[in-house]
Every structure is written in structure tokens, then in C-alpha cells.
Symmetry: C2
Subunit: 340 residues, 2 copies
């Protein structure tokens, strides 16, 4: 089997670190790992297969001889080095939002639209975390029943913002518990013991960029530019794991039991939704939780039920590890389709 | 002006305590306050208008001579003493869910359906916290545009469960921060740094009781038994203040600006939704937050925008203090319509 030189841009960040872990866990055929950071931070090392590898600063020349470059260093690093890496011979899987909507860049969720990969021109985009898990959950519904409309409200963890946000949640939670005042720094408002109905900047239509990503990226992934979606994205004081309350109106009917069975058979989905709890233990029915998905690879579905407000529709609760399936794992899965 | 003997059942609980505070703050004409508790707890006192009043155990005889009885002692206390208090001459405003759906019991949100009060037979029901704030927000839309369908996902604080839940959030948060294991007691699953897609028990259709309350109570309040609503109720690690992501499909069109103006004129609603933020400060647009509503009386609206997925529809973010407008204040407001 061939082995490859793999660069990870943003190797010291949350997603980059997770990428390196996943390359090792999934035995990606790595000949040499090239961990890269952006900006002049203190010298760091990453661990990979028992070895310590020094993280270098990203330059154009970093990509000479690189077969695969996983980008998780933020939008400006992708802008600056993404296509340069392609020019120097690498295939790039980019976790930033820079190129996702470009016609010449496939936007891939392997379980949903791996067929789009064949159109790639060296750079493939990894979708937004909240988009990926929703698309995996919507796929079997879309194929079997058709989708008329989706209304989604999210419960997104702070690790989606990065390490500094996780630290802000910890330090601010401690401060609030101690009765001290806090001053938001990473977030525009206080995140401790609060929920923030804003992720990313606002756009002129009143939606945030995160909400528009869920709408536009989902349409591109399903090759359905008119798919009707409304999204409200909310940050919650959870460290890892995004949850979504997804309401789907379908074109055709199906029983909840049949849909549950269909989802149980769907690769990448795990149904955690016991419809017949133990007698006398009704209160403790099962459903997926953000804290339980940490480190897991699948998208978890629960609270599946017939929507009472439309003829054909369902409500469901969709949870995934935003750093893995929502980012690093999805990127490595894309790379596996190309290289293995 | 006449003055009245006012009993508060559940006076040592979160909502009962808030009721006593609000009776004083709003200068309700109280001749005598009768604080009552259920169960044999240690002797307690409550403070009212500078005096300490001993809390007594609730018995049938407690209601002799009582003009107004505010019930916030849970379902079993309302079942046991609610109609008995009426028989002994009191008007009862009941915060439990026991009698809300009975045809002979009006279910009142003063800003929405105060006209239903005239049918009362001694006992008036206070709606569920998450229902009240949504109804106040929906009222101007319902009147002006008609409502085709509502899809709501909630972000409900732990104070809705009571004091023990607030303590569980504190102790479990500290335990998680210290790296210790926790064992859920009040909640079926861990609430610290997590979100729980379950409030109250499950019903046979897969919705929880809390979700069915939002559906059925809203229909009763609007006298619209076929109103189309789907709800997903989620507990979040916030102490006080419920937030709701409300998607409304309307029968007739209106611009967002006109709707915002309409809501700004609506009593009981405060719009916190600057559509034109300061140049260069776009990231810090205003919207209501759970932690900012604590102690406030109004229902706060933000994130108002045209829904992109339907011809006529809006998304909005609705926040209120669940102990005040969601419970104690709404009950006292109902009493004010009867007694003042």
C-alpha cells in the first residue's frame, strides 16, 4: 500500500489536533506527518504514533512534496496557502468556509454526496460542523420521502469556537459561581450559565453567517438549490458536542417506526431512541446527549416523532461530536476516499 | 380601596417566594398574607412588607376567610386543596397543570385572553412558563397576520424545575470543573455543561408533557383548537430565564420592519433587536439573553427576521423570566384583574 506525506495546517488548534489523532486512530497511510501552525507562537511539538514532531510555521515551501494537506488553521491561512498547496502538488481538504460555495470546489459529506468528489480540482471543502451532522440525518429522509422544508434550531458547544472559548467557559463559570463579575472576551456576550442566539457575524437579512451556512451548504451538498430551510444557531455552555432540534416536513408519508428502522440501517447514523422504555421507568427514556458523543464518530438521532402540525413530517434531535464528525473526522474520511 | 386576605400555597418554593415578592412590589391590596407550605418541613418564615410571617402547613381550614389563594405548591397540593379553597370562598389562581385543560377553568395570559376570565367558576389556571411567553409574542402576529403554523424549540432554565434543580446545577458544575464524577438526581441525565432534550415525562406520541402543554395550552389560550404547533422542549444549564427559538408561518404577509414596529407597540413585549448596528461593530448586535431577563416583567423579542423558507413567515427569539412572567407575575396579574 502506498504511503503519503500529510500536512496538517493549524496542528496546534482543536480541530488540527483532532485530525492528527484521527489519522493515527484510523491508520491513514502516513509516510510523514508535517504539522504546521500559523502565526509566530512558541515552538511546539505534536505527538503522532509515539513520536514527537516539531510544529513548523506555514510557508509556501511547506507544501513541497506534500501529498495531502488538511487545513484547519482558520480562514486566512486557507486563503493564503490553500491553492498554493494545490499548485505545489497537494490535495487539500479545507475546513474553513472560504471556498465552500465555489462552483469548482466540491463540498463533501461522504455519507451524503461522495459522488461530487470526482469533480475536484485539488481542493475539497469540509462543510460547517452544524451542517454536516444535519445532512447525515436528513439523507435517508431526503432519499425515501423527499424534503419539503426544514426548520432547525441548534445547541452548539463552545469547542466550535476553539480553545480560547473552552477556556472562557471554564474561567467564567468559576467566576460566576464565586460571585465575581465577568467580561466577555471570546464571545460577544456572557456564555457562562447563558445561551447566545448568535454564532458568527450577522448578514443583511437578519440571519447570522452560521445560519446561512446551514442553509446554503445543505443545498449544495444535496444539489438542491431551492431546498427550503430555516435555521437558528445558538451557542450553549457545553464543551463538546453539537445538538440540533430538527423539524422536517416531507413530501411523502412514512410511519415513525419505519423511519426509525430506515435510520438504524443508515451508515454513519446511530439511533438512540427507545420508544418502549421499561415499565415504570418511563421518565428515563433514552436520547442522545452532547456529553455522550465526545470522541464518537457517528451522528446520533433521538426524540424521533411524528410532527403533529403537518400531514407529513417529523421532529428529531441530532447530536454529534463537532470536532470529529463535524470537522476533523469528516475531513479525514474525504481524504480516505482519495488516497486509500 | 378594599384590601384582601391572600394565601400563597408553596410559599417556601421558588415561584411562591416570587409571588410574595411581586404582591409587595406591585402593591397588591393585601390585608393579610397567609403563607402556606405543603409537607412537614421545619418551621419557616417569609418576609413581607418588612414583617416576618410564619409559614403554616396547608389544611382545608387554611382557606377560611381567604379572598385570594395563589397556588404554587405543585400538582398534588392543587389537587387536594384547590377546589376546597374555592368552596370556602377564595378565588384560586393555580400555577399547576392539574386543571388547565378543563372546560370550566379559564387559562389566562392577561395580554392575550383576559376576556376568558369572565367565565371563571372560582378557579383560574396559570399556563405553563414556556407557553406564556410564546403566547405574548404570538398575539400581535395572530391578530394582524393569522398563524398558519408554529415550530418552537426551547432553551429552558433549571429554575423551572425548582430550588433542588438550581442546587444540582451548581454542585454538578463544581464537580465537573474539579474532575469529579456526578450522578444525576433531580434530572434524568447530567445537566452540567450539557443540554437535555426532555422536560417532564414522555407521552405515547413521543412528545413530552411539556411539549404537549405548549401545543394544547396555546390552542386553548387563543381559542383555536386546530392551531398548528410543533414543540421541542430542552433544558439548558442556565439558572433563570427561558429562551425560545420560534418559527411562525403566517397567513398574510408583512415586512419585518412593520412587524418590529407592531411588536414595539404591544403591551408586555420589549423588542431588543437593533437591525442597524453601529458601523464596524456589527458583531455586537443586540438580542435578549436569559441572564438579562432575571427580575424583569416583560417578554423580550429579538432576532426578528423574515423566514427564507416560506412565503410568509418569521423567525424570532423570545426570552422571559420564567419565575416572573412565566409563573408568579402572570398569576398576580390575573388576580389584579379580579380584585383591583
Amino acid at each position: 500500500m502506498s504511503k503519503y506525506v500529510v500536512a496538517v495546517v493549524g496542528a496546534t488548534g482543536l480541530v488540527g489536533g483532532e485530525m492528527i489523532k484521527i489519522l493515527e486512530q484510523r491508520k491513514f497511510p502516513v509516510k510523514q506527518l508535517v504539522p504546521l501552525a500559523t502565526g509566530k507562537k512558541e515552538k511546539r511539538v505534536v505527538r503522532f504514533k509515539g513520536a514527537s514532531i516539531t510544529v513548523k510555521e506555514t510557508t509556501d515551501a511547506s507544501f513541497n512534496g506534500v501529498d495531502l494537506a488538511l487545513f484547519a488553521g482558520g480562514g486566512s491561512a486557507s486563503q493564503e496557502f490553500g491553492w498554493e498547496a494545490v499548485r505545489r502538488g497537494a490535495v487539500v481538504v479545507d475546513n474553513s468556509s472560504c471556498f465552500r460555495m465555489r462552483a469548482d470546489v466540491p463540498l463533501i459529506v461522504p455519507e451524503v454526496n461522495i459522488k461530487h468528489l470526482k469533480r475536484h480540482q485539488g481542493l475539497i471543502a469540509n462543510p460547517n460542523c452544524s451542517t454536516i451532522q444535519m445532512c447525515v440525518a436528513l439523507k435517508p429522509i431526503y432519499l425515501k420521502l423527499g424534503i419539503k422544508r426544514v426548520v432547525v434550531s441548534s445547541y452548539q458547544s463552545v469547542s466550535g469556537t476553539g480553545k480560547a472559548a473552552m477556556e472562557e467557559l471554564t474561567t467564567h463559570t468559576k467566576a460566576v459561581l464565586a460571585g465575581h463579575k465577568t467580561k466577555p472576551a471570546v464571545y460577544p456576550k456572557e456564555i457562562a450559565f447563558n445561551v447566545l442566539p448568535q454564532i458568527d457575524m450577522f448578514t443583511s437579512n437578519g440571519y447570522t453567517k452560521e445560519e446561512m451556512k446551514m442553509i446554503n451548504e445543505t443545498r449544495k451538498i444535496f444539489s438542491d438549490p431551492n431546498m427550503k430551510i430555516s435555521a437558528t444557531c445558538v451557542r450553549v455552555p457545553v464543551y463538546v458536542g453539537h445538538a440540533e432540534s430538527v423539524n422536517v416536513e416531507t413530501l411523502r408519508p412514512l410511519s415513525v417506526d419505519s423511519l426509525r428502522k430506515l435510520m438504524e440501517k443508515t451508515p454513519g447514523l446511530i439511533v438512540v431512541d427507545d420508544p418502549d422504555p421499561v415499565e415504570g421507568d418511563e421518565f428515563r427514556r433514552t436520547y442522545p446527549l452532547s456529553i455522550d458523543t465526545t470522541g464518537k464518530d457517528d451522528v446520533f438521532i433521538g426524540r424521533l416523532r411524528k410532527d403533529l402540525s403537518v400531514e407529513n413530517g417529523f421532529d428529531m434531535w441530532v447530536v454529534a461530536d463537532n470536532l470529529r464528525k463535524g470537522a476533523a473526522l469528516n475531513a479525514v474520511q474525504i481524504a480516505e476516499f482519495i488516497f486509500t
